[in-house]
Symmetry: D2
Subunit: 325 residues, 4 copies
Amino acid sequence: MKLAMIGLGRMGAGIARRLMQHGHEIVGYDRDAKAVETLAGDGAIAAASLEDVVAKLDGPRIFWVMLPAGGPTESTIETLSGLVAADDIIIDGGNSFYKDDIRRAKGLAEKGIHYVDVGTSGGVWGLERGFCMMIGGDADTVTLLDPIFDALAPGIGTISKTPGRDDADPRPEKGYIHAGPAGAGHFVKMVHNGIEYGLMAAYAEGFDVLKGKASEKLAEDERFDINLPDVAEVWRRGSVISSWLLDLGAIGLAKDHKLDQFTGHVADSGEGQWTIDAAMEEAVPAYVLSAALFARYRSRVEHTFGDKLLSAMRFGFGGHVEMPQ
Amino acid sequence: MKLAMIGLGRMGAGIARRLMQHGHEIVGYDRDAKAVETLAGDGAIAAASLEDVVAKLDGPRIFWVMLPAGGPTESTIETLSGLVAADDIIIDGGNSFYKDDIRRAKGLAEKGIHYVDVGTSGGVWGLERGFCMMIGGDADTVTLLDPIFDALAPGIGTISKTPGRDDADPRPEKGYIHAGPAGAGHFVKMVHNGIEYGLMAAYAEGFDVLKGKASEKLAEDERFDINLPDVAEVWRRGSVISSWLLDLGAIGLAKDHKLDQFTGHVADSGEGQWTIDAAMEEAVPAYVLSAALFARYRSRVEHTFGDKLLSAMRFGFGGHVEMPQ
Amino acid sequence: MKLAMIGLGRMGAGIARRLMQHGHEIVGYDRDAKAVETLAGDGAIAAASLEDVVAKLDGPRIFWVMLPAGGPTESTIETLSGLVAADDIIIDGGNSFYKDDIRRAKGLAEKGIHYVDVGTSGGVWGLERGFCMMIGGDADTVTLLDPIFDALAPGIGTISKTPGRDDADPRPEKGYIHAGPAGAGHFVKMVHNGIEYGLMAAYAEGFDVLKGKASEKLAEDERFDINLPDVAEVWRRGSVISSWLLDLGAIGLAKDHKLDQFTGHVADSGEGQWTIDAAMEEAVPAYVLSAALFARYRSRVEHTFGDKLLSAMRFGFGGHVEMPQ
Amino acid sequence: MKLAMIGLGRMGAGIARRLMQHGHEIVGYDRDAKAVETLAGDGAIAAASLEDVVAKLDGPRIFWVMLPAGGPTESTIETLSGLVAADDIIIDGGNSFYKDDIRRAKGLAEKGIHYVDVGTSGGVWGLERGFCMMIGGDADTVTLLDPIFDALAPGIGTISKTPGRDDADPRPEKGYIHAGPAGAGHFVKMVHNGIEYGLMAAYAEGFDVLKGKASEKLAEDERFDINLPDVAEVWRRGSVISSWLLDLGAIGLAKDHKLDQFTGHVADSGEGQWTIDAAMEEAVPAYVLSAALFARYRSRVEHTFGDKLLSAMRFGFGGHVEMPQ
């Protein structure tokens, strides 16, 4: 198929390349002309503007927008919506908030334009391993785009087959799902990231407990000085908690068992927060996922004001009395 | 009644004085001779050693041990147990772990000695307001000691009567309960402190949210610059969340609305941890009480190793990619 | 002063009555004519419609809207905004979301109408004790309304004075604050309710631990059968965790120590959720407040799907093996 | 090597068989004579009693005890300790509490007996995949036993190599580590299980949020009806959150997407609780791991008493007022 890739950062360029390797034709565009030039060197058709992109595609045109969520994605889709024609397809492959997808899809549907949201997991590793994709949009459009998703997905590969799926949709086994109408793709991706925060926090706390066992807070004969890189490595090998995130942790620990290159400040993107929002809208308890998010907030401040308020109350008991309070 | 007060720190001396004010006779002992001297100046009988304490009481002798939990309490009670006679009574008024009470009571019972544990709340304010006491021990001994508890408790005072208690034990309304056999007093006091941590954390988080509303993380037109001392004050006045802890917070905030004198490091004594232990033994969920405890742990370290592990995993995705992961 | 009370439910009628007792003049309106009639019997001027309300006030007119948040409040204020004139004042005394206040205040300001939001705590007890109020709006309007707030607030009363407030705004000591521009009142009230959930959950968990100590999960000699109504009562008396919420808990426990009249399903209103939303917008950790909210969600379902998924995973280990997993 | 396997349940028999397949000689014993007979049929030397086990080994004798933690393990090791001689080796391969290991190792060391604790992960799948082992004990003994661990471990296999481990201990890559002195093996295994609970809870909460998106709590146009077995499957395929636990969840969901065969009651073994205990001893925050444990407790009761107390307090506000509280 022929489609445009708008946004040629690491992810966009990677997706474009993987598609070209599978025989698809790419019209590439980015604000940064050098990124366009580089991709053209690999066989893409270079476009100089969104208008140029439109001109270089045939109807129904397919646009894959791969830009940071929020402003850049929003304004690009708005501009595109003034340039395209009925039956054209706009794909948002970024990390948009699913409610933005629903809104955009409604607006574009009035003009006969199809909107598809694709949540993508796999990071830069996806270029090699293939991308795991969660897709929202109307069924006909998602079916029409199937060759694209099929090319991007990891495929069946060597991962063991789940028993009992013989009559099930074959797409999930290849690495992509049609999750539902517009927004559903990013919704599933959002929850995916919410879970990711929870998984990471579970490992983080566990390694803290292992490391703390060597702490001087404990009596000397209660301490163990455990080799953390070795533990991460062994848990990858036949243990119940083996996972790809643990693989990444093991790589980091093998490189520097003290992890001194990291400050301890941990960023979060929107999905963790949106997952808690969704949980609250549904009245679903999310103790673990919220705690994982809060730990990232907490990591970025030295002290909270609340901590000081605790001390102020304690002081009020009577000057830090050490006896019964 | 005549009883010994062993340990004349702030709490022990205060209890002794309140008892003397109510007509009881005190034999005072402390390792620090000056503390004994000072209390003797207020009317107490000075004792120079535990042996001297024993000699200056008549059977059945009553010993109120008011020392730091752990070593000092343990060794003092052990020494005493070698000096006393059947029917004597040893009271542990400190913050002992309730399982230590159960063990000690069993050992002393074999010699005919009665053991009573008293969990005391009220801090240094208790001298003026009276002490809230949670008492464990056999019923006869607790009844025999009633004049002591009655003198120490706040009494009915001006606190509103709870309807429906006309046929109930009158002691709780005066400020003390017989919670059950030895250990039950400190058990109830332990849970009291566990709750205290939870209450304090709820206020702390709430004030953090109020303060954060002025944060530069928010767009300028989304900020409120809220006067926190005024909020603490107004909540004391007819609101559903008025409490004595809030009174203490209001005092601290009125003195310094930035609470700059506090580092943000918050200590914890054993009760918070023991409460979680008890919850786990009973298979009772304690999300809030545990989170309150963990926030104190977290307040005392700059960064956790786990935070760095999170960053290491994130790095593993592909060098902090900002696009879909 | 003369003002209209729109919405004569329990809270609206109570506020109207307290204002009339303090010499203010009330024009009362409610969809339910009987409620209007009843209040008129107590001295209010009855109004038959919003138009009638407007006609019976003199400029600048003051409207206190006391209706359920959301639809009823929104539509009433919208209707009112078409009937009123520049310099008139609309007060929302309900539980509105603070972002709705900000939006409404902006819209009304374009017509020269002043909008004031009042978060009110105290429940039906407020009629007797006075209401604790958190107020948002422009300073001139809030000052103009001062006689109203002064009449509704509890006043200085017998609550102890916080030291260090001699030069501070006197209003908080009387029971109301001007928290900031429109929305700030409901924002502070929202956090107040968020804290309330946290405080309640701390008590709930603590009492669960006390009750669990009698559980058959424990060996017989590790159990205590603790009298919970007595514990609630004694903690009201000089303990560090005394509070008005504990008073309410003690009342409930005294009436029925098994609390059998309650199903265990606990509702939540919007404020708990909004507090977590605000925390996330500010990147403030809210472990305790969120856990308190989630416990209410959890109380309303028999089992979560997630619990079953845990069992499915455990089954996958190998048929519930009881040995190492 | 020649060693005894004491306890021939699913795990013990599996370990014995894997060892025999690798050329080791097994003396098998179990209280259940049939289990012994069955294993003898596969080539093991049958023993009729612990005394018989001892008689059928040559010094230094090696005993692998594979029994439920607590009573059975404790009493068996105690009996063995009276039968064995200096330089003999006792291995506890079950799920013992690491502090029990430390105590036993000390006691046995006085008699010159070596004690080794082996935490084993992999469940019944381990027979096929090999067992992941975390080993505590003195270095010489662990080295002497290396042929046994090497046979049981999965070996390097097809799992990708972690870069940077060229100079590191080769054992973790094969699937076992020497974690430290006696107790360290079970300590690492304990934390492993604590993490396992956290990981599982993260998936559980995430799937609850996905499922809740179809809930009638939401307006009809805000719902997505997401195919959960397909989501579990697609996340196994190139996503960041792929893991062995997710594989198990996908198997369960593929079999029954409603998971109706499970009641929703989720058991927990000791390790989750011990991990929180260890965290508290070290003053390490464990928000996620504790919440995961508490969710299991909560899953096993219909309502908590605390939930009812919340309702009692709410009732106290004034009969479930729906207006401001």
